[in-house]
Symmetry: C2
Subunit: 201 residues, 2 copies
């Protein structure tokens, strides 16, 4: 039924991902993606109603790839192990998918999130909420006596997401790959930040 597509949605998203990884969201123009994929701009507009929708596809592709393994790591039964595994996962996933990792180092706002189609914004919201609640569960498990719940959440997010991403940023933004060593450093740091301390003021 109908003419077969010469340029699939995946082809076009892949071209856009490559451009975004190299030059950031500004490099993802409809004209540039069409050029990179060898397609006319009309084909692009046939798949995506406008530029924000394409940017949403790029961002969500990266995010969902990342979160797939993230959920598994965060769901480990012992909270400290879950935290350390997740920190390690962030580095390993980034090493395996440097292009996608480079994209997630931006914010969704840099990819024009406010202008996204409603369905894409909803997907983003629910994806973030799901991982957020897994992270909250880990944080509750690692709360120190007398510590307010949101401060524990802060500490855990820092050790498990922000710090590993900072480490990734350090390498990827220098144009290098993520070295083996960094995986250990991330896991180590998460453990140091989250393991209960003997007894200090």
């Amino acid at each position: 039924m109908g003419r077969p597509a010469r340029f699939s949605t995946d082809d076009l998203v892949a071209a856009a991902v490559a451009l975004a990884a190299e030059g950031g969201p500004a490099a993802v123009t409809m004209a540039a993606v069409a050029r990179a994929a060898g397609a006319p701009s009309g084909s692009l507009y046939h798949r995506f109603p406008n530029r924000p929708a394409l940017l949403a596809a790029v961002w969500l592709h990266a995010l969902e790839s990342f979160q797939e393994g993230c959920r598994a790591a965060l769901s480990a039964p012992r909270p400290l192990a879950a935290a350390v595994d997740t920190a390690r996962y962030v580095l390993e996933w980034s090493g395996a998918h440097p292009d996608l990792a480079r994209i997630l180092l931006y914010r969704s706002a840099d990819f024009d999130e406010p202008a996204w189609p409603a369905t894409d914004r909803a997907r983003l919201g629910s994806a973030n909420a799901e991982v957020g609640s897994l992270l909250a569960a880990v944080a509750r498990g690692l709360r120190e006596p007398g510590e307010p719940e949101d401060r524990a959440m802060e500490r855990v997010a820092l050790a498990v997401v922000e710090l590993p991403l900072a480490l990734v940023r350090r390498h990827l933004r220098g144009g290098r790959d993520v070295p083996e060593d960094a995986v250990r450093l991330a896991a180590d740091s998460a453990e140091r930040l989250l393991a209960p301390r003997p007894a200090t003021g």
Copy 2:
């Protein structure tokens, strides 16, 4: 001697900084800055030969403001104190200068660094080298027995620069300010990451 300026270089940089803080480097167009400052585009081109030169001025303004206090903190005599003070400084400076901090959360490459005038690139290089060597001195002081020097450098940079910036990013990118609490968390985390451990595997 000559007509007095109605729009000083500082005025124009200030307008550009505000735009960059709000919308990132993409928002810093010659047209937008001129509009924001109430100046005609010609006045802008009178001060800056082209857009990369303006972007360089914005980046260097933020960087040099940050590094001024950074040098002092890094120069403290005891290395662990220097590290913890620097981590605290990153948060305090960011709280005091949220616009400039938002700018430093990008990379210089996002501000089109390869196209900057040679003098600006040189200023960037020497500024980074100076702080880098102070950081290296701290790292040497905190090296654990048997640890390779570059791994110590990695660990220290992570604890003293990357982690505090990640914390700042978390807040500023949500549109919030940097809370008091975060300053303590940064100093605390730096100390946990860098203090020698009792004796573990």
